[in-house]
């Protein structure tokens, strides 16, 4: 394996909502993951990937998004909980690719106004991500009562999230490395 290549972990901000608090979470996650050794990242904002809404699936691929996912070793989804599920726009975007995801790691940061840190959106995303060929890690980011976790300018008010996310990143990077080695060196047969 050529270990000199950095691990590339884009972060997908999964809601286009005006006034979204998840944007603060995504910016925080990007800043923190960028501090990890040997990791590169970038933010993918669902608002900026303009997809047709009169069609669905791979027919409406955005080439830049596909190239980014293809190059990725892992993904981080920042997903707010909407009626105990995921935002439809996030699913619409995820559905535009398939082979680009295979044998890559994924971690989810759930965001909620309520006290459960988006655990229900996380649980509901798991079967979708599995069918896409992604491998889900067992650490999550749980951003509960997000309106109290960041101030209006996006400043983190609860420092415990830094330690919690560190565990999440370590596991995600481990899985990303293992899966890269698997993709490149471990044969299916």
């Amino acid at each position: 394996m050529n270990d000199s290549r950095p691990i590339f972990i884009p972060v997908i901000l999964g809601t286009p909502r005006q006034g979204r608090m998840s944007e603060h979470v995504a910016n925080f996650v990007v800043d923190e993951v960028a501090k990890q050794d040997g990791v590169e990242t970038e933010l993918i904002d669902v608002r900026k990937v303009l997809l047709a809404t009169d069609n669905a699936g791979q027919d409406i691929k955005d080439s830049q998004f596909s190239d980014t996912v293809n190059r990725a070793d892992a993904l981080i989804l920042v997903a707010p909980e909407y009626n105990h599920g995921y935002p439809g726009v996030l699913k619409h975007l995820l559905d535009t690719n398939l082979k680009e995801y295979i044998h890559k790691a994924v971690g989810i940061c759930g965001v909620s106004a309520g006290p459960f840190g988006g655990t229900r959106v996380i649980q509901n995303l798991l079967p979708v991500l599995r069918e896409l060929g992604l491998v889900c890690i067992f650490w999550d980011g749980n951003f509960s009562t997000v309106q109290k976790t960041f101030d209006g300018s996006g400043k983190l008010l609860e420092q415990a999230y830094i330690r919690r996310l560190d565990k999440f990143f370590k596991e995600l990077i481990w899985m990303a490395k293992v899966l890269r080695n698997g993709r490149e060196n471990v044969s299916l047969t």
């Binding site: 293809n70 070793d73 295979i102």
Partner: protein, 62 residues
């Protein structure tokens, strides 16, 4: 049989790629129903990755 097929070569590095997954694509079959594998209900794609540069490609199993 996929395992008997010729190994793919990376278009960037020229090295042999690793065949690491089979993935069923249910949507591709909507466009090309004749290519659907009747045992699986979708189109089977092989996934290959380059051990040198990481490039990934897929190949349809016919």
């Amino acid at each position: 049989m996929p395992e008997q097929r010729k190994k793919m070569k990376c278009s960037e590095c020229g090295v042999e790629m690793n065949y690491h997954a089979d993935k069923l694509d249910f949507t591709a079959g909507l466009e090309d129903p004749s290519a659907i594998d009747p045992d699986f209900g979708g189109i089977m794609e092989e996934c290959h990755a380059c051990p040198e540069c990481g490039k990934t490609v897929t190949r349809r199993v016919t």
